[in-house]
């Protein structure tokens, strides 16, 4: 039986004649297009097309979608989705549509908010999981970071295996989530079993018919959020912005000797702006457990009212939010010596006691002192008189506003140690690591750092950092990549162990692969028999370091002030002496000169 002899269900003779005469006049590719055209027809579109072209024997409407962008994203485990996506792209191109085709794993998720027509093809892996390569894409899309997509239309092709319980789940997740984000589903999702070819081809036909059958959805109107955006307000140190925590994760891998975190904060609606190199100030709160222990040690009630500049507060709240209650200062020592009259404390005062005092303060926090030297009946105001106001903590921002708009990312080392048998943690890093709930905010402001700035785009940069010193370089590289900067870049990074402490490893790998980052060297101090630091790598590659400096490179150093900065400085001076045949004095003068020209910039702490 040939198809041409089969009169379709309930067709009149006249309809059947028209269809048959049309069918025999079409090429095979036209035929498959037409099948999709009819398949995609619903009552609504039919009304429109009929009104526009009353006799339309063929789709007269030019693909107006050309004015919009069509993006095909695929997530593939075995290559089936990839093949289908390539076929779809080809068919769309044949239809005259401009198409962009991406593996979800290679797609820059920040572009999502600008997408208009999105076609997604994904297989399902294991028990409803996306393909490995698409895991990041899914995670972004399903996170709170995902943008609203009111302007977008979409359709999903889901591949799966019906012997698994969560059949086609990855595709279903995409379908659900895109709808939640406000995108309009212009063609229902198709779920395909292992014999996916036919249903997939039918879906393609239906999807593509939308682009020919009539104009795409009207141009998006300005999102309401944009119109309703508040006027920028001047948030600053005194009046910090409550930045919502978007992400807060541990960067260091299992088994690491340390904990370094990545924190993403939203600045949306704050009007705060910054440049790569700037820092973010955070107003952290003290650990309530530490405050409770302190109050217990001095036998004071947390409810005792105290007067602060801003007004009256209960003592407990004042200690949590307004005073340093962990590290003790010489001032506190002096005050507490007076309150208690303790000879042990008095001995530490004055010029003669300086060294003993420093040693004592290294080994004793406020709680240790009040426990060792009790002051029964001390008044709240007396306790507070010795305490220093709680200071905001500064962190170099690890993101570029060009890439993460309205966000600031931080790289935070969690400070933990034990003293007198009890575990202690840093105020801000402890707050971030241990006490940030789901919908938490942190009061934040921008602390500009005009002495740590990217140069003009053509100029090469040599970035040297260790530990969390990597943060501003992540911002630099995001910025330069977003700008498509022509200048070369070289990152020399130090940490403890390759396997667990290679901060942002996969991001550097991607930058190297895309040649946005020209070169990278790493020094892991605890991997080998010999301690190896960034300065050793610089000396190993002395000729190249020298050549970069001679080529006009800007040199940046970020990290520990006590050791990294002088060690790197020494290495640079040595390189200038050896490679540039300078005297030691001239090498130092050259480094001073570079600093004056803003070509040797340091952000050390």
């Amino acid at each position: 039986m040939t198809l041409a002899e089969f009169p379709g269900p309930g067709l009149s003779e006249e309809q059947w004649r028209l269809i048959r005469s049309l069918a025999v006049s079409l090429s095979s590719s036209q035929l498959s297009w037409v099948s999709g055209y009819f398949a995609g027809f619903d009552e609504g579109t039919r009304g429109r097309v009929a009104a526009a072209t009353p006799q339309a024997p063929e789709p007269a409407a030019p693909p107006q979608a050309a004015a919009r962008t069509l993006t095909i994203l695929f997530g593939s485990e075995t290559g089936a989705s990839q093949d289908l996506a390539a076929t779809l792209a080809r068919r769309a191109e044949d239809q005259g549509l401009p198409v962009r085709l991406f593996d979800m794993g290679a797609y820059k998720v920040r572009q999502l908010k600008d997408e208009q027509d999105l076609l997604l093809i994904s297989s399902t892996h294991g028990e409803g999981d996306p393909p490995q390569a698409a895991a990041d894409f899914f995670e972004f899309l399903e996170s709170r970071k995902a943008p609203r997509l009111e302007q977008a239309r979409f359709s999903v092709l889901a591949l799966g295996d019906s012997t698994y319980e969560r059949f086609c789940e990855a595709g279903r997740r995409l379908d659900r989530r895109l709808e939640e984000l406000g995108a309009r589903r212009f063609e229902p999702r198709a779920d395909c079993d292992v014999d996916y070819e036919e249903p997939a081809a039918a879906w393609m036909g239906r999807v593509l018919s939308h682009f020919a059958a009539g104009p795409a959805t009207p141009a998006p109107t300005a999102p309401a959020a944009l119109a309703a955006r508040p006027e920028p307000t001047a948030f600053d140190r005194k009046r910090p912005f409550p930045a919502a925590v978007i992400d807060n994760l541990v960067l260091t891998g299992r088994g690491s000797s340390k904990e370094t975190r990545h924190l993403e904060l939203s600045l949306e609606g704050s009007g705060l702006t910054f440049e790569p190199g700037d820092a973010l100030g955070l107003h952290a709160r003290n650990d309530p457990a530490v405050v409770a222990a302190l109050l217990d040690a001095v036998a004071l009630s947390p409810e005792a009212p105290v007067s602060l500049k801003g007004g009256d507060l209960p003592l407990g709240e004042a200690l949590e939010s307004a005073y340093e209650v962990t590290a003790a200062t010489p001032r506190f020592l002096e005050q507490w010596a007076q309150v208690t009259g303790a000879a042990g404390l008095k001995a530490l005062l004055g010029d003669d006691g300086r060294e003993a005092r420093s040693a004592f303060l290294r080994g004793h926090q406020v709680i240790d002192i009040v426990r060792a030297f009790p002051a029964p009946g001390v008044a709240p105001v007396t306790l507070l008189a010795g305490l220093r106001p709680l200071q905001p903590r500064l962190y170099s921002i690890a993101s570029s506003p060009l890439v993460a708009e309205d966000e600031a990312h931080l790289t935070v080392s969690t400070v933990r140690f034990a003293l007198h048998g009890t575990p202690r943690s840093g105020v801000a890093s402890g707050h971030i690591a241990d006490r940030l709930g789901e919908d938490a905010t942190l009061p934040a402001y921008i602390q500009p750092n005009p002495h740590f700035r990217l140069p003009e785009p053509e100029r090469p940069i040599l970035m040297i950092g260790a530990g969390t010193g990597v943060a501003p370089f992540r911002a630099f590289m995001q910025h330069r990549e977003a700008q498509g900067t022509p200048g070369r870049s070289w990152l020399v990074l130090g940490e403890r162990n390759f396997r667990t402490d290679f901060l942002y490893q996969t991001e550097w790998q991607a930058l190297l692969r895309d040649q946005a980052l020209t070169r990278m060297d790493v020094a892991f101090s605890r991997d080998g028999d010999r301690k190896l630091y960034v300065q050793h790598r610089l000396l190993e590659h002395a000729a190249e370091v020298y050549a970069w400096i001679e080529d006009g490179a800007c040199v940046y150093v970020c990290g520990d002030a006590a050791r990294l900065a002088p060690d790197v400085h020494e290495a640079l001076a040595t390189i200038l002496v050896e490679q540039g045949r300078l005297s030691r004095e001239d090498a130092e003068e050259r480094l001073r000169g570079l600093a004056r020209e803003h070509r040797y910039q340091r952000d050390v702490y």
Binding site: E139, Y164, G253, H262, Q505, Q509, V522
Partner: protein, 572 residues
């Protein structure tokens, strides 16, 4: 590329070596362009930004016995942490016939402690695997192996894999003779692989006067090629699962030759119905002095005619089914220049190991020790790695690794038996052989967390699965009944599941296909009984079938044989 063979009769050559590279699968171009497997491995080893090697090099390194993996338990966690997967390498030793000297053992032990997280694994092909080896440790490890005359050449890759050989300790004279031939066959069949010497031993490259690989050429085999030698009546190597199997035939004066079996293979590809496990066919007999010639000829036929377009169908078993067994046999005979003699009679009775002490014909004693899933490590109360090190120090006779992942402490003089027993006792190892009939006949592949192919747990699952099946057997009074149980983390079948009486092959975390009815000595494929189900469904099904077996079995009838006899009736 031109073929060196002219087939004896017309055949379709559109998918084999005679075609230009661009008409073949991408791996063929990769091999041909690899500079005889050198690739950029030496550079990849120097790259400090990643613990991996380049994608291309990962494939080439397999030929050198080194297999890139990552800790899959950590994969997702590390991805979120913006860390690359915890890359590491598996290094598989080439150990023909599973024979290992005590000196070699001590070196392997030291290397496992230094570079392999204190664990060694005995594979189902009678060799050792190191896991968890970091990139920087590969060279030291391979160089140290070299000092005791071990290497990892062609332990993976499209080449002749490690050659297996029965270990039956009882037939000592025959074993010695067959093992010598197996060893020779391995040395003969592997690529010369100058790249290995340059990359791992640091030897300088010298200009080659002729082709570097006279047999393999630039594209090696279409797929892996497995050779095994078996000494009846124990089919411990599962000869029907080998691409090329030699079944020893002995007469009154010792070894006479071998029956030749071709075309076995366990692997199937998930969701590729055109792939399937296949048992080897016995095609005739060769006298012992013609084994190498026959081996060369069989490999040459597969090299020439194997499918190089579709790797899923590139194993020898598909070549045989595509061309027809008769055509293949005649082609082999044409290449080797002599005809096979008619196959001689032989009989297999089991494919398992006899555990405990056995005395060889030469009067020496051998102790076979059961190792669950072939894993050698130290656990609380059971310091296996330490115990075996002490035995290797005290005992000069060496070891044999069995295809059932067990270990033979070999060649013990009668007066030393007590010494060995004392050491086993002292390290808490005398209980190892005390498991049930099921436990003693169980095999699991490695699977998670290191194997990149695994879809479900295998080695880590067996210890919790086995007692649950044992409880069923106990209930039905069958706890001593030997039944083969094999668990594979994926359908590829490294634990040779498709010949087991009970087999599970992984489909997803916690989900398996259940197969039943393989032959106890590996002579028959099993059949899928349940698809993609969890443990509860598997145990319920086993309870039903085992209950019937207990009630209705014939005298001496094996579980697998019963399942086949009962057939459809079991569904009622």
């Amino acid at each position: 590329m031109s073929s060196t063979l002219t087939p004896h009769a017309p055949t379709d050559r559109s998918r084999d070596l005679s075609q230009p590279l661009d008409a073949l699968g991408p791996d063929e171009t990769l091999k041909a362009d690899s500079d005889q497997l050198r690739g950029t491995i030496a550079l990849s080893l120097l790259d400090r930004i990643t613990g991996a090697v380049s994608d291309r090099d990962t494939k080439l390194m397999k030929f050198q016995g080194v297999y890139q993996q990552d800790d899959r338990d950590l994969r997702d966690e590390r991805r979120r942490q913006k860390l690359e997967p915890a890359y590491q390498f598996m290094a598989r030793v080439r150990l023909p016939g599973g024979v290992c000297t005590s000196e070699q053992w001590l070196t392997l032990d030291a290397l496992a402690r230094e570079h392999g997280r204190g664990t060694l694994r005995i594979t189902t092909r009678q060799t050792f695997q190191f896991h968890w080896v970091l990139k920087d440790s590969l060279r030291p490890l391979i160089q140290k192996l070299h000092t005791v005359l071990l290497d990892t050449i062609s332990a993976c890759g499209d080449d002749a894999r490690g050659v297996m050989c029965s270990v039956d300790p009882h037939l000592s004279a025959l074993h010695a003779e067959v093992y010598a031939i197996a060893r020779q066959a391995s040395d003969h069949a592997i690529p010369r692989m100058r790249a290995y010497h340059e990359i791992w031993y640091g030897e300088t490259r010298v200009a080659a006067s002729g082709p570097e690989e006279p047999f393999y050429g630039r594209t090696y085999m279409p797929r892996k090629f497995k050779i095994g030698f078996v000494i009846p009546p124990v089919n411990d190597i599962d000869v029907y699962t080998q691409d090329l199997g030699f079944i020893a035939v002995a007469g009154p004066d010792g070894l006479e030759g071998f029956n030749v079996a071709i075309g076995g293979g366990m692997g199937r590809t998930d969701q590729a119905p055109a792939t399937y496990p296949r048992l080897a066919d016995v095609i005739g007999f060769v006298p012992k002095d013609r084994v190498l010639a026959a081996s060369d000829a069989v490999m040459a036929v597969q090299r020439e005619y194997g499918d190089r377009r579709d790797r899923a169908r590139a194993r020898f078993k598909y070549t045989i089914d595509d061309k027809g067994l008769d055509w293949i046999v005649r082609e082999i005979e044409a290449v080797q220049g002599f005809a096979f003699e008619p196959a001689r009679p032989f009989e297999f009775t089991t494919n398992g190991d006899v555990l405990g002490w056995r005395r060889g014909e030469d009067g020496r004693h051998h102790h076979t020790l059961f190792l669950e899933a072939g894993r050698i490590d130290n656990r609380p109360g059971r310091p296996l790695l330490d115990g075996l090190r002490e035995i290797a120090r005290a005992h000069p006779g060496g070891f044999r690794l069995t295809p059932n992942q067990n270990l033979v402490i070999a060649n013990v003089a009668a007066r030393d038996r007590q010494l060995i027993e004392g050491l086993l006792e002292g390290f808490g190892l005398s209980e190892l052989n005390a498991g049930s009939g099921l436990r003693r006949n169980a095999i699991a592949c490695v699977a998670l967390p290191t194997c990149g192919l695994a879809m479900a747990e295998a080695e880590r699952y067996l210890p919790s699965l086995a007692p649950k099946i044992e409880a069923i057997l106990e209930r039905h009074g069958l706890i001593e009944e030997p039944i083969t149980l094999r668990v594979s983390g994926c359908p590829n079948g490294c634990s040779r599941p498709y010949v087991a009486e009970i087999a599970l092959t992984g489909r997803a975390p916690g989900k398996y296909n259940l197969y039943l009815g393989g032959g106890f000595h590996g002579q028959r494929l099993n059949r899928m009984d349940l698809e993609n189900v969890g443990e509860a469904a598997i145990l319920a099904r086993l309870d039903t079938v085992i209950a019937r077996y207990a009630r209705e079995r014939l005298e001496g009838e094996r579980f697998g044989d019963f399942v086949v006899r009962a057939g459809r009736d079991l569904d009622a």
